[in-house]
């Protein structure tokens, strides 16, 4: 009886279940891209309108087109890439340290009840503190060195990453923990198989926020640490200002903006991928 009925039921259940959304990835990328493109176009239009209004002279505030031309010119020079490369290496290094340290600290805190209460409020304080406030101390400790820059980036990014992971761990559904325990997972194995995977979406949120803080902190630090004679994005920005070269200044600002958005959208894609896996997306996504 069971054997006769079961395949039928499986079939009807299969037909009744929600069809897996098959959509061409090109269409999906486009649907994610067009609002961003639209916003960029809007920004350029406003910029152009402000220039046309004659509020400031063209030498102080050049329009989009001269800036694009200038950027295209910059992109033909190797040292421009070298400057961007140095800045990206710095942010990658600082961010990696921040992510690793914050993850370890967050897991340790989560495991110790008392530490969680003590450090939890500390994290909020650290998060609201502008990381550039660390800079004088960093210079005092490490002079005007790479180390000082890294310290500022780490102090900017780490609290947000730790707070994200910690809140993820705190908000794991209790039922999932009971499920894990009922299957015989305890201590570290419970963390590895249940708590950390369950905290992943919040962790990615923290990583994304941490990235924004790292990028901001690095820009401030590079503007202040002109002493190192290596060329970086911040240093290019500073020298463009010194030369009153508004075109160059805006061209570099465009680069900073584009890098910030590009990395942010990588995190956005990661977040969407996770939520799709978990079935947390609505129909339209």
């Amino acid at each position: 009886m069971a054997a006769e009925l079961a395949p039928q039921l499986s079939l009807s259940e299969a037909l009744g279940s929600r069809p897996h959304p098959v959509r061409r990835s090109a269409a999906r990328v486009w649907s994610g891209l067009w609002p961003k493109l639209g916003a960029a176009v809007l920004l350029v239009v406003i910029w152009q309108l402000v220039v046309w209004s004659g509020w400031r002279s063209q030498s102080a505030l050049p329009g989009p087109w001269p800036v694009v031309e200038r950027l295209a010119g910059d992109l033909r020079h190797l040292d421009f890439y070298a400057a961007i490369g140095l800045t990206l290496r710095r942010v990658a290094f600082g961010y990696a340290i921040a992510a690793a340290a914050a993850s370890i600290v967050a897991i340790l805190i989560a495991r110790i009840e008392l530490a969680r209460r003590a450090v939890g409020s500390l994290l909020v304080g650290l998060q609201s503190m502008p990381s550039i406030a660390w800079f004088p101390l960093a210079i005092l400790l490490l002079q005007r060195s790479e180390g000082a820059i890294t310290l500022v980036v780490v102090m900017g990014a780490a609290p947000a990453i730790a707070a994200g992971l910690l809140s993820g761990i705190d908000h794991v559904h209790p039922l999932l923990i009971r499920v894990g325990r009922a299957m015989g997972a305890d201590g570290l194995r419970l963390y590895r198989h249940v708590i950390l995977p369950a905290a992943l979406p919040a962790f990615v949120g923290g990583l994304k926020q941490g990235w924004a803080f790292a990028w901001r902190s690095l820009m401030s630090a590079e503007l202040l640490v002109v002493a190192t004679n290596q060329s970086s994005i911040g240093q290019l920005l500073q020298s463009a200002r010194n030369l009153n070269d508004a075109q160059q200044l805006l061209a570099i600002m465009v680069v900073i903006f584009v890098i910030g958005i590009a990395v942010d959208s990588v995190f956005g894609m990661l977040d969407t991928a996770i939520r799709r896996r978990w079935g947390l997306l609505g129909m339209e996504a």
Binding site: L5, L9, E13, A14, L176, R181, M183, G184, P197, I274
Partner: protein
């Protein structure tokens, strides 16, 4: 010592004056109050009781998830629990959920996938191994939960209203599958439901719980031959008696 050994050979689980209290602010709420019973090895026992009579609490204590406030609850051997809500891990596929249970049991990585597929086949889910929980229907999720519990290779299977949210046909089918698996693997099953017919359909014995706080009010031995049909008149008679007792438990005291 020998006395204890004899006991453990015959009984799969024993509950002795089990009391569980939860604190609600100032007040103490008794979920279970002195529940006492035993389940023999290989026996299929159903528990029926009103909502809030401590059935889930009983299973949680037996699974080691909650502590008794007083008394003892002991399971001889390994125990697996199927939750009231099908509690699959949403980031794992159907097979992944089963494989995790195998991994936590210490099954080596090389055979895990094969075993998981085999177990999913046993609950008629072949072809759905790579689906994630949100892509499965309610009945399919409960089958994955069943496969995952079987993966734990437990001696005692605790089931908390596993088929409560299913349509009649799916439930019929899962009853048959469960009965088959129980016979094949010589499991001991403690099955919670608030449906008297379901209890009589499946159980060798049905325990009726008192309403809040819970303890055993009545025990009914079901001597009908298997497989039983939910619609058979003999089954309906026994289920009717149990329902009367349940009604008495729920409203009786208030009327008197």
């Amino acid at each position: 010592m020998s006395n204890l050994l004899a006991l453990s050979e015959k009984h799969a689980l024993s509950v002795e004056r089990l009391t569980v209290a939860f604190s609600h602010g100032e007040e103490l709420l008794l979920a279970l109050d002195g529940a006492t019973f035993e389940v023999k090895r290989g026996e299929f026992v159903c528990v029926v009781g009103a909502s809030g009579s401590g059935k889930s609490t009983l299973l949680n204590v037996l699974a080691g998830l909650d502590r008794p406030s007083a008394g003892r609850a002991h399971v001889h051997g390994r125990v697996a629990l199927i939750f009231q809500e099908s509690a699959l891990l949403p980031w794992l596929t159907a097979a992944g959920n089963v494989e995790l249970a195998l991994e936590l049991r210490g099954v080596s990585a090389s055979v895990r996938q094969e075993l998981a597929y085999e177990l999913l086949g046993r609950v008629h889910l072949a072809g759905f191994e790579k689906r994630r929980p949100h892509e499965l229907s309610g009945g399919m999720k409960q089958r994955v939960a069943l496969a995952r519990a079987l993966a734990q290779d437990a001696d005692v299977l605790l089931m908390d209203e596993p088929f409560g949210a299913l349509d009649a046909i799916s439930r019929d089918l899962l009853h048959e599958e469960l009965e088959r698996i129980w016979k094949e693997s010589r499991l001991t099953i403690l099955f919670v439901t608030h449906n008297a017919r379901e209890a009589v359909r499946l159980g060798d014995r049905v325990m009726v719980f008192t309403s809040r706080p819970g303890r055993v009010a009545q025990e009914v031995h079901v001597n009908l031959p298997r497989p039983r049909s939910l619609d058979s008149p003999e089954l309906a008679v026994i289920a009717g008696r149990i329902t009367d007792r349940l009604k008495h438990e729920m409203f009786g005291e208030a009327v008197i």
